[in-house]
Symmetry: C2
Subunit: 234 residues, 2 copies
DNA sequence: TCTCTTCGAATTGCATACAAAACGGCGACA
DNA sequence: TGTCGCCGTTTTGTATGCAATTCGAAGAGA
């Protein structure tokens, strides 16, 4: 058979990792939430060992903070870390743009276009909207075929949503959709500098929307139940 | 007491991580070497659990490859991955240079100068020389105070030494020392563009020294013994 | 009422045990 | 002689158990 019978691919540790990451990015687990090994393991039907491995991975990605002897929490980047992160992100996404400008295939253009449509369509759903906006950037990175670049952009985009969760205004990501379209146009036209400038502006405008809310925490087991089924866990 | 009695800081898992990382960067463990959990644990006096954690960390950093059910090996980046890696590195180190240009404090200049002296002095020792050359770049990154930038540059520099180990000419890193001095001069003078260009050239020249050797593997326990004592392990 | 101490419960750190998978050698068969 | 498949050995995957640490609440002393 061409495909493994395991529906989600990868081992169970990876599945746990994906569940938690997804939950964090959707802001179902907000920055600062505690991530106790045994509650998570219990809910997901795996032992602490696997949860631990997932947490280590997530901490390497900067999504969770591992406090020795005191457990893991969803990372709470400071505002300054946020600013620095966007600086770094800019340096890398500039490379993405330079690599891609004028070189997009018809297929890639199609993918990006329909993604932008999806973003349009999901404007209302806050969590969805945030995730899709991020995915546009990771999609671009993906197309460079540069493994390290892809990985770092992915990480930075993920962390960005933490920053936004902490310091962003409620509707901050929505206005970005049209900017994505513009950027795509410049990329297709091969106008590298304009595209880079646009990307810079795009990221910059995201950063300069500061300080706002965070709603309360929910019970972790409850929150995870939705994600668990999607990964075929317990 | 101000300091913990633990000489190396951090938990034992981190110590294992540092031992392996150091051994890899020194090319005492060359790309492709197998990293069996129990041999390592036995030699270092810890259980497989901790070794596993270290290996997961290293794989996140791209230094080891984790093959499901088949064990871990020191990563063997392809030549193309290498090229891409240096592209990414360039994008980030450009940001480092831009951030630092004209802003180095007297103290920082001192640190960098004496580091360059140390590089001069260590020209003969291949392993030392490679490590110091890398450290110059991580030192620069460190001075930006940008956490994500620091982390990525560190990772990329580390991986670069794998690339060099696989595809570099024997004496490739030595000529770099003078370039480091030049770069420092430009940075002090605040000549941002020239510094950036120099950095670009510097990294580019490293990449365009291609394809060569790798000597045989040694016994892993034997190799680790030196590193073990440095971390206070068994 | 406030602070400090003490003790129990909850949680992490780490080792170990056992199951499952991959590797390697030997022999059957062609 | 060469190849295939079987089985013991080795190594990884995962759960679990116990010790150590932290957290929190109840109580003593001021």
């Amino acid at each position: 058979m061409a495909k493994k019978e395991n529906e989600t691919g990868g081992g169970r540790a990876q599945a746990v990792h994906r569940v938690l990451k997804r939950a964090i990015l959707d802001q179902a687990l907000s920055p600062g939430s505690k991530l106790p090994e045994d509650s998570i393991g219990e809910r997901l039907g795996v032992s602490r060992t696997l949860v631990r491995e997932a947490l280590v991975r997530l901490s390497e990605e900067g999504l969770v903070e591992l406090r020795p002897n005191r457990g893991a929490v969803v990372a709470r980047p400071t505002l300054e870390e946020g600013r620095n992160l966007f600086l770094t992100r800019m340096a890398l996404e500039r490379l993405v743009v330079e690599t891609l400008s004028g070189k997009l295939t018809q297929e890639q253009i199609g993918i990006l276009s329909s993604h932008i449509e999806a973003e349009e369509a999901a404007k209302k759903e806050r969590a969805q909207s945030i995730r899709l906006a991020g995915e546009f950037h990771t999609l671009l990175a993906q197309m460079t075929n540069n493994a390290s670049l892809i990985r770092y952009v992915n990480e930075l985009v993920a962390r960005s949503s933490l920053i936004l969760a902490l310091y962003g205004r409620p509707h901050s990501s929505e206005c970005a959709v049209s900017e994505h379209q513009e950027l795509l146009d410049k990329l297709i036209a091969g106008k590298t500098d304009e595209a880079a400038a646009l990307m810079a502006h795009h990221l910059d405008s995201v950063t300069t929307r500061a300080l706002l809310p965070t709603d309360g925490d929910r019970n972790i087991k409850e929150v995870l139940s939705a994600y668990a089924v999607a990964e075929g866990l317990a």
